[in-house]
């Protein structure tokens, strides 16, 4: 299945925004660790395959029934991710995939190459925050 124009990154951190409303970079940290250290590091996204994807993402629930992304979702342009991947500071260490889950057909991942240092990972996160974010959608603004 081809990738759509946009992907959606759920915001689950209450300190994702500064008091001034700026998106802070740590929301884009790659912190999911696979057992295999040679695998790319992942952070979950949903692909905006259709008009229902935003509503579906906003309504995703944690195991305890609470909203998973109650602070909203970030809409990222895939074209921008591709462009950023050619920045000299990133140079091909960024990628994405589709990883359909039983309860989430939109699911995928942003990927960071194995072996990238923590310092570099955090710089990549800052680049995503400043240059890939198209808009923020919250429950109030989505409907």
């Amino acid at each position: 299945m081809p990738y759509p124009e946009c992907c959606l990154k759920g915001i689950n951190l209450k300190d994702a925004f500064s008091e001034d409303g700026d998106l802070q970079s740590h929301i884009f940290y790659f912190i999911r660790h696979d057992e295999n250290p040679h695998c790319w590091k992942k952070q979950s996204i949903n692909w905006q395959d259709d008009d229902s994807a935003i509503g579906f993402t906003l309504e995703q629930k944690n195991a305890d029934g609470s909203l998973q992304f109650k602070y909203g979702i970030i809409v990222l342009l895939r074209q921008e991710i591709d462009r950023l991947n050619n920045r000299p500071q990133i140079n091909g260490i960024l990628s994405y995939d589709r990883e359909v889950l039983p309860d989430n057909r939109y699911h995928g991942n942003l990927l960071l190459a194995a072996g990238v240092s923590q310092k570099k990972m955090k710089m990549v996160a800052a680049i995503l925050a400043i240059d890939a974010t198209e808009k923020i959608v919250t429950s109030e603004s989505a409907y």
Partner: protein, 168 residues
């Protein structure tokens, strides 16, 4: 006639305020520590300082080494900013530094502007701590980074402040 001054050892030259204040107008933050910087006592920045919000967050961080590194960095930043203000640069209007403590006890201190951002990543292992400057496509995708440990951070921060004043 405009007055110019070479702010650092970079090639950027800044315009000085026509109402350049006397060097006696403001006290350097570090002067409040008198001449005993190694006495162990660190006084917090004033509430209106650009670093005061970040200072409050890092002071509550769990890892003592992270707190130590972050406070040292923020004091250095405050000292440099105070020096620039004494030279007539009006920096109070700049956005404040922000800090967040991460799940792994690291701290991120960020200085966020519309087209670029500067970050200081403070890790429990000082050898892993670093800094970065990244700008958007609108500002030509600048990228720079380095380590905190073993670096001349005063010189590095002067360079970063040069960038801020030139592009804010």
């Amino acid at each position: 006639m405009k007055e110019f001054e070479q702010g650092t050892d970079s090639v950027v030259v800044f315009t000085l305020s026509p109402n350049r204040p006397s060097h006696k107008a403001n006290k350097l933050f570090c002067e409040t520590r008198a001449s005993a910087p190694s006495s162990g006592y660190i006084s917090p920045p004033e509430d209106y300082s650009l670093v005061s919000k970040a200072w409050k967050i890092v002071s509550k961080a769990k890892h003592p080494e992270v707190v130590k590194q972050a406070r040292k960095l923020l004091l250095l930043i405050q000292e440099v900013i105070s020096s620039f203000e004494q030279l007539g640069f009006r920096l109070r209007a700049l956005p404040p530094f922000r800090a967040v403590e991460e799940d792994n006890e690291s701290v991120l201190i960020e200085w966020i502007f519309a087209k670029f951002r500067i970050g200081f990543t403070i890790e429990p292992d000082p050898r892993e701590s670093g800094w970065y400057l990244v700008s958007s496509q609108a500002l030509n995708e600048v990228g720079a980074s380095g380590r905190l440990s073993g670096a001349n951070m005063k010189k590095n921060f002067l360079w970063l402040l040069n960038f801020v004043i030139s592009h804010k």
